[in-house]
């Protein structure tokens, strides 16, 4: 859920909030220093030395899945369009179990038979195709830069709101802090800071939800107030059309199988048999953490409808305004640190997969190997982060544009080739390459035409949905047409992983 915050937050520079935020950054730094001492190889840097446990995997995946959007943009969207905004997070009850059946076991077992460190590694091995590996890496790299830029901008906005340092300083302070532990400790630092950050996000969300219920006299009180003023707001689609809401469900449900910053964490699990409880832990953690997303948006709408609050100037003010008016400052400080935590954990994951795509997958696709992967991994991390921060600093609509297509690009390029390809032996190399190319072209062309205002899809139609279903059909069709060719052959060890 890496949709991101792109508008300014209200000033939050109060001593307690700043103190909590400083304490939070100090703990993140301490974890980074600890992880740095344990990072000695490229395996440590990219897949945490394949040594993490179930709880670490689940909480780190949860933290990487949720960006600041879950705490700021999401509640703002609920406030402005009602229940329809919930369709973005509605598939959560299904997606982690689906991901476990479809990807978790196979990804983790691939790391048993081969030295895998990236998602494109799995695609390359499945289809015996450096081209498929390289093409998927290019798609990941493009999406990562866009995603990172929006998230770094969001981090800058949060830091500016808490410390009053200005947006540009906020962007660079946030980038440098995240870079510091990511470059030194790699994904090892990332997953353990994610565990801290994820726990903080869950705790903050539950506490805020208690205040949500208190502010509106329970959920029934909130609903009654809203129904009296605007019944359609609590309709199943809210202010959206049914097609738009269901498109959210389609894209965020199926697209969850193609999010490399989450999927590649399966490689890191120490014991594959611990996956048994992964869906339960991950789904529960996400569910708890998303209480704030739904609760704050509805509560603020009820408070405004009941005359207890003036209408918001911007929907994204819903969380900050609610926290400052209805919760203790200490909790507000925790939540704002939680927002920074959500963004940093997502950015850190993007740094890792982007660096791996740049210095591992693309060279492999070109028939080369980088000598010192640990060293060049660190250099690539810095390079990608600087580019993302510069793009974020440029700001404007370009950043929002880059962020919007990230999810769709991941979904349309990776879901067919990876998620279906690892579970269907009839998938072929040509099918995989065609579907990745289709996802790339359809997403980039439609999003660019929309950005340039040359062509805009009708309301309710999601470009991510169109590109996802197009790449799915191309994958299935081309695989069927090329089913008897050389590209349908699977290596015995990979075949074994697919059959178990």
């Amino acid at each position: 859920m890496a949709l991101a915050q792109t508008s300014a937050l209200p000033p939050l520079a109060q001593p307690i909030i700043s103190a909590v935020a400083i304490a939070y950054f100090a703990i993140v730094a301490a974890i980074g220093v600890w992880a740095t001492r344990r990072t000695r190889t490229a395996s440590d840097f990219f897949i945490a030395g394949q040594g993490i446990g179930l709880w670490t995997l689940a909480i780190a995946s949860m933290a990487a899945t949720l960006s600041g959007f879950a705490f700021i943009g999401g509640p703002g969207l609920v406030y402005s369009v009602g229940i329809g905004a919930v369709f973005i997070i509605l598939p959560v009850s299904l997606t982690n179990s689906m991901g476990a059946w479809v990807l978790a076991k196979r990804m983790r077992l691939l790391a048993e038979v081969r030295d895998m460190i990236t998602v494109p590694d799995a695609i390359g091995a499945r289809y015996r195709s450096p081209l498929a590996q390289g093409l998927s890496a290019v798609a990941i790299l493009i999406a990562v830069i866009g995603y990172m830029a929006t998230n770094v901008l969001a981090l800058g906005l949060v830091i500016d709101a808490i410390f009053g340092v200005g947006l540009v300083w906020g962007i660079w302070i946030g980038t440098v802090i995240t870079l510091a532990y990511s470059v030194a400790g790699g994904i090892l630092a990332g997953v353990y800071t994610d565990v801290f950050q994820g726990s903080l996000m869950a705790l903050a969300s539950v506490l805020v939800f208690v205040y949500v219920l208190e502010s509106g006299d329970g959920l029934s009180g909130i609903s009654r107030t809203i129904l009296g003023a605007d019944p359609g707001f609590l309709g199943p689609w809210g202010k959206l059309t049914p097609l738009a809401a269901l498109s959210f469900f389609f894209v965020f449900g199926l697209g969850s199988l193609g999010q490399p910053h989450v999927v590649h964490k399966f490689y890191m699990l120490r014991d594959p048999r611990r996956l048994k409880w992964y869906p339960l832990v991950m789904t529960t953690a996400l569910f708890v953490t998303l209480l704030l997303y739904v609760g704050v948006g509805l509560a603020v709408k009820a408070l405004v409808a009941g005359g207890a609050m003036p209408a918001l100037e911007r929907p994204d003010d819903a969380t900050p305004v609610f926290l400052l008016r209805f919760t203790p400052l200490l909790l507000a400080g925790l939540v704002f640190s939680g927002v920074a935590a959500a963004i940093m954990s997502t950015v850190n994951s993007f740094m890792s997969i982007g660096a791996a795509a740049l210095m591992h997958d693309i060279p492999v696709a070109l028939g080369r190997r980088v000598g010192n992967e640990l060293f060049w991994g660190r250099i690539s991390t810095v390079a990608i982060s600087v580019v993302a921060a510069l793009v974020a600093q440029a700001s404007g609509t370009l950043v929002a544009f880059l962020g919007i297509f990230g999810w769709g690009l991941f979904a349309s390029t990776l879901v067919p080739a990876l998620a279906i390809g690892l579970n269907w032996q009839g998938a072929t190399r040509a099918g995989a390459v065609s579907s990745i190319a289709t996802g790339l072209v359809v997403t980039l062309v439609f999003e660019t035409l929309g950005y340039l205002k040359v062509y805009t899809v009708p309301a309710g139609v999601s470009i991510a949905g169109v590109s996802l279903v197009a790449s799915l059909l191309v994958f299935l069709g081309v695989s069927w047409l090329t089913r008897d060719g050389d590209g349908s052959v699977i290596d015995p060890d990979i075949k074994l992983v697919m059959e178990i």
Binding site: I83, I89, L90, V92, S93, L94, N96, S97, M98, W101, V102, R106, L109, E112, V113, G218, L219, S220, I222, R224, L227, P231, G232, L234, G235, P236, T241, P242, L243, L246, S247, F249, F250, L254, P272, R273, L275, K276, P279, L280, T283, T284, F287, N423, W424, P458, A459, V461, V466, V469, L472, L473, L476, P492, D493, L496, V497, M498, E499, I500
Partner: protein, 145 residues
């Protein structure tokens, strides 16, 4: 057989989703049937992919057929119900604090599967997903490339 059916369902449901989007793009707004096509297509794609993932070579999904069927029913009945139930009003009854259609969406589709699918995954993990013997076979494959 199970996997072939799942694959067929995946193809048909993808076509249904594509048809919904094409109709909306061509006509400028979604015709009523497009919403049903997107709803049924999305639910079926999710079920088909889960069956493909859970099914093992040469066998079906075993006991998982029950939770998978239940999940599919929840999605179809839940989304179908909100498409045909009456609109909300200021005096709508509340189900656990929400108007009926919102309650079906949030509690039915958003919460109910949480109590079914992860539990089903855990309970069938040893027999249907990954046993110690499976793991040993995979590790042996690495030792003898």
């Amino acid at each position: 057989m199970t996997r072939s059916i799942a694959l067929g369902a995946l193809v048909l449901s993808s076509l249904a989703v594509a048809a919904a989007y094409v109709a909306a793009i061509v006509s400028g707004s979604a015709p009523p049937w497009a919403v049903w096509a997107l709803m049924i297509g999305t639910s079926t794609i999710m079920l088909a992919i889960m069956v493909l993932g859970a099914g093992r070579s040469g066998s079906g999904v075993g006991k998982l057929a029950v939770p998978f069927g239940a999940m599919f029913a929840v999605l179809l009945v839940g989304f179908g119900a909100v498409l045909v139930m009456p609109d909300e009003s200021a005096t709508s009854a509340l189900w656990f604090g929400l108007p009926p259609r919102a309650a079906v969406v949030l509690y039915g589709i958003g919460v109910l599967p949480l109590f079914v699918l992860p539990i089903a995954y855990a309970l069938t993990f040893d027999s249907l997903t990954l046993s110690e013997e499976d793991l040993e076979r995979v590790r042996a494959a690495r030792r003898k490339p």
